[in-house]
């Protein structure tokens, strides 16, 4: 029988793969940024699920790391969105050009 911590951890790895698929397949930069956020959530879920395995009280060190991660992720997202808007104003495109 699969334990609930493992179920959450597997969901986390599934989210990571789903996000990576979105990152590879979609050309639109907004979708790429969204996909990176989904990947990040997957990693956070994995970390907290693994912390849940410790007997009694869950391990708090990964919790603190995830809180740090959430705040850094939102600032990185804001920066990425700013860069995307700049690109859209200057080249009027929301895709990166293909490398030839």
């Amino acid at each position: 029988m699969i334990s609930s911590a493992n179920l959450y951890a597997l969901t986390g790895s599934g989210l990571f793969s789903l996000g990576l698929y979105g990152l590879i397949m979609y050309a639109h930069l907004l979708r790429k940024i969204l996909a990176i956020n989904v990947m990040g959530s997957g990693i956070f879920l994995l970390l907290v699920a693994l912390a849940y395995r410790s007997p009694g009280q869950p391990d708090v060190v990964p919790h603190a790391m995830v809180i740090t991660g959430i705040v850094v992720a939102v600032s990185a997202t804001a920066l990425a969105l700013g860069l995307m808007l700049k690109l859209a104003t200057h080249s009027s495109s929301t895709q990166l050009p293909d490398e030839d």
Binding site: N37, V48, R53, Q57, H63
Partner: protein
Amino acid sequence: MFFIAFGLLMALAWVRLQAPDVALAEAAIGAGLTGALLLAALSRLNSIEHTTAAPAYPQKSARALQLQSWLAMALLLILNAGLAYSILSLPDTGAGLTPLVTMQLEHSGVKNPVTAVLLNYRGYDTLLEVFVLLLALLSVWSMGTSQQQPEASPGPVLDNLMRLLAPVLILVAAYLLWVGADAPGGAFQAGSVLAAAGVLLLLSGWRLPTRLLDRPLRIVLIAGPAVFIATALATLLSSGRLLQFAPDWAGVLILLIETFATLSIGVTLAALFAGGRPHHPPDRS
């Protein structure tokens, strides 16, 4: 957008995994702020796309796209199988660092283990993180000024709602900050609630008076990192180790750092939402 619902579901997952601190941060930031950021970017993107014609990129044929999609899916399935195998092969229980954290908790100055880890045991992580936030804001500001948005007057309902909500949100932020020493809460959660208040105010058309935009805003932005650095230097001089708090002083110092960090985090996140450096007052530019 589905992403906001996704964030709320994640917050529920954190509660189920007995991580209430993470749940608070996720509900405020992951669900609220990131969603608001994405929606704001989307609406600005639409206004840009309406004014300019997009250049035509050579489109790949449908067949090539399908092939690429199958290939990516196959590779990711292999990757995911590997990840799943390594997760399932981990031992079912592992104490991790819990014994160490609880053993030292009485010397840390706070009773909430997550706050103890964030600000005492691994204080330098948090110190650097506050600077990451500042750096992100500086990069966004260096890309140009925000679009001049006139002070819009919201409808009477929205206006009155905001007048009621903003003080409540500030009160909630202060409560989360104070309670963070003993129960789930702390600087990041309080800061993100403060940022949510700022974003709501920005969305409903409130603007800071221009005389506050220049120096006072910048002072609040660097107050958190500056106080953190000053405390770190003081502990370096007094005890010889960076951020090594004496047990008697730890509680006070942590509360001091957290208070200023909350202010800075809240204002930085709200400024990130506004996007771009604020316009200089007309008499200076």
